[in-house]
C-alpha cells in the first residue's frame, strides 16, 4: 500500500497515452456491461420467487391450440394447487394493424396470480364491474397518453367481433403498475380484458382458453402438481403440457436466439483486442522507464518488488478504465430506457456482471502486465543505466 503513490505517478507519467488507453478499456467494459446485462436478463427471465410458484399449462400439440375452459374446475381439485387462472391471446393492435400490443383476455383472478404487479383496489373493483373494461400497463398508458375513463379502440389480428368486423372498443378502467418501482414487468406493457366478454362477443371461441396459469402452495411440489395436471387430460383430445413459468420462459428464449453464444463471441473479440492494446501500452511504459527502474533497483528495491510495481500499475490501469466503463453502462442503460419511453429496454448492470467484470479486469491486468513486469524484474542495473 505504501507504494500506491509511486504506482499512481508511474501511471500518469505520460498523460495522453494513459488517457487514450483508459478510453479504450472503458469502451470495452461499457460494451461488456451492456451485453452481459442483456445476457443475464435473458438467463434469469422467469426466475423470480413468485415465478417458481407458477405453472403454465398449454396444449401439448402446440401453443396455438386452445383448451376447454371446463378444465379449470378440475385443475383446482388437484392437491397442492392454490389457484387457477386462464387467459387467451387476443392479438390486439392499436391504430395500425402492425402495431401489435400484448393483449390477453383473462379470468377475473388473473391479476392475483402476479404479485409483482399491482392495481389499486378501486380500479380493480371497477374492472370487475365493467364488462368492456380493460386494465392497461402503466408504460403503455404513458406511451399513448391513455387515462382511466378513455375509450380504447383496438383491432384484433385474429378475432372478429360479433358484428363481423375486427374492431373492438373497450373502456380503460385501471392501470397496472409494478409492485416494486425498479422491477420491470411484462404486464406493464400489456392490456388485460375480460375473458367472459371476449368469449361472448366472438363467434369462434366457444368456451376455449389459450393457457392456464396455476399457483401452487409449495414451489418444491411444482413437478408433482404439473404431472398431476397433465394426467387430467391424458389420452383426451386436448392433452396438456405443464411447466414452471421459469422452464417455459427458458424454452421460449432458447428458441429466440442463442444470446449467450453471441455475447461470448463478441466479448471474446473485444477482449482479445484489448489485451493486445493494453499490453502494448504497458510494454511501451516499461521500455521508456528502463533507467528509472534501474535506479529503483539501485536504491534497494528487490527484483520482486519491481515486478510487483509494474504488475500493480497494469492492474490499476485496467481496473480504472473497467470500473469507469461498467459504471457508465450502469448509468447509460436506465437513461436509454427512460429516454426512449421504454421502447428500448436496457437492463441495469446486475451484481453478477460486476463480479465477472472485476474478475476479468484483474485477469486482463495481470496478463498484460506479466511480460513487461518480467522484463523489469530481469533488468540488469549496469546495462540499464548505461543505456544498453
Amino acid at each position: 500500500m505504501k507504494y500506491l503513490h509511486l504506482i499512481w505517478a508511474a501511471l500518469w507519467r505520460r498523460k495522453t497515452r494513459t488517457i487514450l488507453t483508459l478510453v479504450s478499456i472503458l469502451a470495452a467494459f461499457l460494451l461488456f456491461g451492456m451485453l452481459d446485462g442483456v445476457r443475464t436478463s435473458f438467463a434469469n427471465a422467469g426466475k423470480s420467487a413468485a415465478g417458481a410458484e407458477r405453472l403454465q399449462t398449454g396444449s401439448k400439440l402446440s401453443f396455438i391450440e386452445t383448451l376447454p375452459q371446463s378444465l379449470q374446475a378440475r385443475m383446482e381439485q388437484v392437491p397442492g394447487v392454490k389457484m387457477v387462472a386462464y387467459a387467451n391471446w387476443f392479438g390486439g393492435a392499436y391504430q395500425d394493424p402492425h402495431n401489435q400490443i400484448f393483449t390477453f383476455a383473462v379470468s377475473d383472478n388473473y391479476v392475483d396470480m402476479y404479485p409483482e404487479v399491482a392495481v389499486s383496489p378501486a380500479e380493480r373493483k371497477a374492472f370487475e364491474q365493467t364488462r368492456t373494461g380493460v386494465l392497461v400497463g402503466d408504460l403503455l398508458a404513458k406511451k399513448y397518453h391513455w387515462k382511466v375513463g378513455d375509450k380504447l379502440p383496438l383491432q384484433s389480428n385474429i378475432f372478429p367481433n360479433r358484428d363481423g368486423s375486427k374492431n373492438w372498443s373497450f373502456d380503460i378502467v385501471g392501470v397496472i403498475h409494478a409492485s416494486k418501482p425498479d422491477d420491470k414487468q411484462m404486464l406493464q406493457g400489456g392490456i388485460l380484458m375480460h375473458w367472459k366478454y371476449f368469449d361472448e362477443s366472438n363467434p369462434y371461441n366457444r368456451g376455449r382458453v389459450g393457457w392456464y396459469v396455476t399457483r401452487v402452495n409449495d414451489a418444491s411440489q411444482s413437478d408433482r402438481v404439473a404431472n398431476a395436471i397433465d394426467a387430467l387430460s391424458a389420452n383426451s383430445d386436448h392433452e396438456t403440457r405443464t411447466m414452471t413459468e421459469q422452464a417455459a420462459m427458458a424454452q421460449w428464449i432458447k428458441q429466440m436466439a442463442d444470446v449467450g453464444f453471441i455475447v461470448v463471441s463478441i466479448m471474446g473479440a473485444v477482449f482479445f483486442t484489448l489485451l493486445l492494446l493494453t499490453g502494448n501500452t504497458m510494454a511501451q511504459a516499461v521500455r521508456e522507464r528502463t533507467s528509472e527502474l534501474a535506479v529503483l533497483k539501485t536504491i534497494g528495491f528487490s527484483s520482486v518488488s519491481v515486478l510487483g510495481l509494474v504488475l500493480a500499475e497494469s492492474v490499476a490501469l485496467v481496473l480504472l478504465g473497467g470500473v469507469l466503463g461498467l459504471g457508465l453502462a450502469a448509468v447509460l442503460g436506465p437513461l436509454l430506457s427512460a429516454g426512449t419511453g421504454g421502447m428500448v429496454s436496457m437492463p441495469p448492470v446486475p451484481a453478477s456482471s460486476w463480479a465477472i467484470g472485476v474478475a476479468l479486469m484483474l485477469a486482463i491486468g495481470l496478463l498484460v502486465g506479466l511480460l513487461p513486469a518480467m522484463r523489469a524484474m530481469r533488468l540488469n542495473i549496469v546495462d540499464a543505466l548505461a543505456g544498453r
Binding site: 460494451l31 432458447k254 428458441q255
Partner: protein
C-alpha cells in the same frame, strides 16, 4: 486560444469527413481517390508526401508490435460488425428468397401473418377460380389452399426441451406453386395418410426427422416419409396433406391462406382487383415477395441496429487504440520528421504521410476482419423464432460483398480519425527541439 480553435476546427473536419464518407456513393469516392492520386503524382507537395510515406512505411517492421495494435483492433471491429450484419442479411434473404413477384398469397383481410388468418371453404374455392392464376396441362388452376399450424417437437440438442415447428398442410398444387421445393431424400407424403415431409432446416433443428421414422405430434403418430430442400424459409417447415392436418387440428374445411402461381408478374394487378371486387370475399392479396419481405423487416432492422451499436462502441475503443499507437509512432520518429521538415518538407506532406500510413494499417485490419468474418461465419446456421409465425426458422449468415465494403469503410474511417490528430501533431513539431531530443 489558438490551439483551442485548431482543436474545434479539427473536430469539425472529422465530423464532416465521416458524414461525407458515409453518405457519398462509391463513384464519388472513387473520383476523389483518383484526384488524390493525381495530386500525389503531379504536384511537388504530393511527391514529397509520397516519399515521406515510403520512409514511414519502410520503418513499420521495426514497430511491428505497436502497429499490429491498429491492425488487430480494427480487424476486431470489422469482424464483429460484419458478422452481426451478416446475420440480419441472412435472415431477410431466407425470407425474401421465399417470395417471388409471380406468385401471390391470399389471406383474410387484416391478418398480419398466415397463422392469424382464416379462410372459409367457400372463400378458398372462389379464390382458386380468380382470373390471372396459371393453369396446368389438365386445365386446373395452380393454386394451393394451405393450412399453417404449429407443433411441438423435441430439439436435437439433447436437452430434452421442445421447440415449435411450423406444420404446413398443402394442396396438391403446392409443388407447382413452389418449383424450388424438391424432395432430396425419401418420397413425398401420400394424401389422406398421416405422413409428412420435413424441410432440411427443420431436420437440422429437431430430433427424429429422418425418412421412415415416426414422430409424435401431440398424441398422434405421424410418419416422416422424406426430406425436402428449398433454400429459403420453407426449409424450416414440415409439409403434409392439408386435409389430414385439418382433421388432426380440428380445423374443418377452413384454411389459413391460398398460394397461387400467376400467369406472370403483370397478372398480379388483375388478380388482386378481381378478388377485391368479389363481394363474397374479405381478403388481402400480396405477391409472396412483398409478404415475406414485410415479415423480415422488423427483425432484420433490429439485428442491424444491434450490430451498429456494438460496432460503434467497439470502434470508439479502436480509434483510441489507433491514436495511441500513432502518437507513439510520431513521438518515436520525431527526429526523423524534424529532419524532413528541416530540409524543406512542408506541413501538408508530413500530415498526408502519417495519415496514409494509418489508413494503410486500417485497410489491412479491415481486410483481415472481413476475411475472418467470412471464414468463420459465412454459411453459419442460426435459428430464431420468426416474426409473424409461431415457429423456429433456421437461416444462414451471409457475408455479402456489400457487407465487406461496409466493413472496409468503417476500417478506413477509424484509421482516418486515428491518424488525423497524430498527423497534425507531427506537422506542428517544433523542428529545433525535436532535433535536439534524444
Amino acid at each position: 486560444m489558438k490551439s483551442f480553435l485548431r482543436g474545434v476546427l479539427l473536430a469539425l473536419v472529422v465530423v464532416a469527413s465521416i458524414v461525407a464518407w458515409a453518405a457519398l456513393p462509391w463513384p464519388v469516392l472513387l473520383a476523389l481517390a483518383v484526384l488524390f492520386l493525381l495530386w500525389m503524382q503531379l504536384t511537388r507537395a504530393g511527391r514529397q508526401a509520397g516519399s515521406a510515406t515510403s520512409v514511414g512505411v519502410s520503418t513499420l517492421p521495426q514497430r511491428i508490435g505497436s502497429s499490429s495494435v491498429v491492425v488487430v483492433g480494427i480487424a476486431g471491429v470489422v469482424a464483429v460488425l460484419v458478422s452481426l450484419l451478416a446475420m440480419g442479411v441472412g435472415y431477410s434473404e431466407a425470407l425474401s428468397n421465399s417470395g417471388s413477384t409471380d406468385t401471390a398469397i391470399v389471406l383474410r383481410g387484416g391478418s398480419a401473418s398466415e397463422v392469424s388468418s382464416v379462410l372459409e371453404h367457400d372463400a378458398v374455392l372462389a379464390i382458386a377460380e380468380a382470373p390471372g392464376i396459371a393453369r396446368d396441362k389438365a386445365g386446373k388452376p395452380i393454386a394451393s389452399p394451405e393450412l399453417v399450424v404449429a407443433a411441438n417437437l423435441p430439439l436435437r440438442d439433447g436437452s430434452g426441451d421442445e421447440g415449435s415447428v411450423q406444420l404446413r398442410g398443402v394442396g396438391d398444387q403446392a409443388w407447382a406453386v413452389r418449383p424450388e421445393v424438391k424432395i432430396i431424400a425419401g418420397r413425398t407424403f401420400k394424401p389422406g395418410l398421416r405422413e409428412l415431409v420435413a424441410g432440411k432446416g427443420a431436420q437440422r433443428q429437431f430430433a427424429g426427422l429422418a425418412p421412415g421414422s415416426q414422430i409424435k405430434l401431440g398424441s398422434q403418430l405421424w410418419t416422416v416419409t422424406g426430406i425436402f430442400a428449398s433454400g429459403n424459409a420453407t426449409d424450416s417447415e414440415l409439409w403434409s396433406d392439408a386435409d389430414v392436418v385439418a382433421s388432426a387440428y380440428r380445423r374443418g374445411s377452413s384454411r389459413t391462406s391460398v398460394f397461387a402461381r400467376l400467369t406472370g408478374a403483370n397478372a398480379f394487378d388483375g388478380f388482386k382487383a378481381a378478388l377485391k371486387g368479389d363481394p363474397r370475399l374479405q381478403v388481402d392479396v400480396q405477391t409472396t415477395l412483398d409478404y415475406f419481405s414485410k415479415q423480415s423487416e422488423q427483425t432484420s432492422q433490429a439485428i442491424r441496429i444491434i450490430g451498429i451499436v456494438v460496432g460503434v462502441i467497439m470502434a470508439i475503443g479502436a480509434v483510441f487504440g489507433a491514436l495511441n499507437t500513432m502518437f507513439a509512432a510520431v513521438a518515436g520518429r520525431a527526429r526523423e520528421i524534424a529532419t524532413l521538415r528541416a530540409i524543406g518538407f512542408r506541413g501538408t506532406p508530413v500530415v498526408v504521410a502519417v495519415m496514409l500510413e494509418t489508413m494503410l494499417l486500417a485497410l489491412l485490419g479491415g481486410v483481415l476482419g472481413g476475411l475472418l468474418a467470412w471464414l468463420a461465419f459465412n454459411g453459419f446456421a442460426a435459428s430464431t423464432l420468426a416474426a409473424g409465425t409461431t415457429a423456429q426458422m433456421s437461416f444462414q449468415l451471409h457475408v455479402t460483398p456489400a457487407l465487406l465494403w461496409t466493413g472496409l469503410k468503417w476500417a478506413l474511417a477509424i484509421g482516418f480519425i486515428g491518424g488525423l490528430f497524430p498527423a497534425v501533431r507531427a506537422a506542428r513539431l517544433p523542428v529545433t527541439t525535436a532535433l535536439r531530443e534524444s
